[in-house]
């Protein structure tokens, strides 16, 4: 990496850190690119050499955050024990705990996905292939251990759980629910679906 690339990377890093803090404390809609630049200590023009729009900054902030989460999950998931319900509950609970560390930022991300003025370059919430993959593996693994019926439609079960997972964030938006409350409801929802895919139910 030459000096110029190093400098550009440093600017990018500073812009992302500043944006993350401003989106969290001031709000996404309320924060201007000018303010991001000023907080990062760079020129407005420099922000635009790294990112096409404020929406793209938000998308990148969220992608970076997810990398931290998945580093954490990669460490934890091999150690998960218990039934398929227990394991699924743990994976979702870790997501809730992570996202509620910065609830306003997360909610801004969701709301931004529906905003017209946003370009099509922003990634709608709920497109989380890593989580989907993890849930899929967990249910498939349950099938090899005999906890899930052989004829269970796994992708469909994953979809149903993901829908419940995503919409439970409304509790954070509307009732300032914490991660424990959301995880407790999710666990009940998982158990309810599990009664449908258990081998005895299919027999």
């Amino acid at each position: 990496m030459n000096l110029r690339q190093t400098q550009k990377e440093a600017t990018r890093r500073r812009v992302l850190d500043a944006a993350r803090d401003l989106f969290e404390t001031v709000g996404y809609e309320e924060t201007t690119v000018r303010e991001i630049a000023s907080q990062a200590g760079v020129a407005v023009g420099s922000v635009f050499t790294c990112f096409a729009s404020k929406a793209e900054v938000l998308s990148q902030v969220m992608i970076d955050r997810l990398e931290d989460l998945y580093a954490e999950l990669d460490r934890i998931t091999p150690h998960l024990r218990g039934t398929v319900v227990d394991r699924l509950s743990s994976i979702f609970a870790l997501h809730y705990a992570f996202e509620t560390r910065r609830t306003p930022l997360f909610l801004a991300h969701i709301a931004a996905a529906y905003n017209w003025r946003q370009g099509s370059d922003s990634v709608p919430y709920g497109r989380n292939p890593r989580l989907r993959g993890m849930i899929h593996d967990c249910v498939a693994d349950g099938r090899t251990r005999g906890e899930v019926a052989d004829d269970a439609d796994i992708p469909l079960i994953v979809d149903t759980l993901m829908a419940a997972y995503a919409w439970n964030y409304r509790l954070a938006a509307w009732e300032q629910a914490g991660p424990e409350q959301m995880s407790a409801i999710m666990e009940k929802q998982i158990a309810l679906v599990a009664r449908g895919f258990a081998p005895s139910a299919a027999a």
């Binding site: 529906y114 017209w116 149903t160 409304r170």
Partner: protein, 216 residues
């Protein structure tokens, strides 16, 4: 427009006819609501300004504010009348189902059919529903709770008919049905899903959610 029709219907039963001024006010409100619906659908909630709405309705911003406190009240008014109409359609559709699966599927489908062609408005509502204040106001609309209640009633009928077990956790299950019903709207908004695709998905979701509650 259902809202306006109702108000006029009530006024006819009164002894005194409504004054010309009251009628003019009703017409103004209806004009503003029609223009607002158009603009929210075309430009989203954030993108549509009161100034634009007033211009589209052919009146001054002052005239708009004389009838509505702010933009969020306008949006809420549109949502309220839509949600009431859609709930009526869903209730009628559910009554035509012979089994619990069929009744729920018909209800879901009636909802999606109602909003077909109005996806931009749905998108605006979904975006708004995630904000703290406006989201709360939307959720507080009686028709939202009544939709969950409709699903609960269908589950209770399923228990009565012996299709579902007594211990089928109606409250949690109806909430999950509602979550899945709503979760399909983003697919329609962003993925452009057809009514048929939404129905196929709903049929599967209902099956998964009810699987643990079947009798026998």
């Amino acid at each position: 427009m259902k809202h306006v029709a109702e108000v006029q219907g009530q006024s006819e039963t009164r002894v005194r006819m409504p004054t010309r001024r009251a009628l003019a006010k009703q017409q103004t409100r209806a004009k503003v609501l029609a223009a607002a619906r158009e603009l929210f659908g075309a430009q989203g909630y954030e993108g549509a300004t009161i100034r634009d709405i007033a211009a589209a309705a052919g009146m001054s911003t002052g005239a708009v504010f004389a009838n509505f406190a702010d933009k969020s009240e306008l949006f809420r008014e549109i949502m309220t009348s839509d949600l009431e109409s859609v709930l009526t359609a869903m209730t009628e559709a559910a009554a035509r189902g012979r089994t619990v699966d069929e009744a729920l599927l018909k209800a879901f489908s009636a909802g999606y059919a109602f909003y077909r062609g109005q996806m931009p408005l749905v998108r605006a509502a979904l975006g708004l529903s995630w904000s703290c204040e406006d989201g709360q106001a939307l959720r507080a609309l009686p028709a939202m709770q009544d939709t969950i209640e409709l699903f609960a009633e269908q589950l209770a009928l399923g228990v009565e008919r012996g299709e579902l077990s007594q211990e089928c956790e109606i409250k949690l299950r109806s909430q999950m049905l509602f979550d899945n019903y709503l979760a399909n709207y983003p697919q329609a908004v962003f993925g452009g899903w057809s009514l048929e695709a939404l129905q196929a998905r709903s049929r599967d979701q209902i099956r998964v959610i009810l699987a643990g509650a079947r009798r026998g």
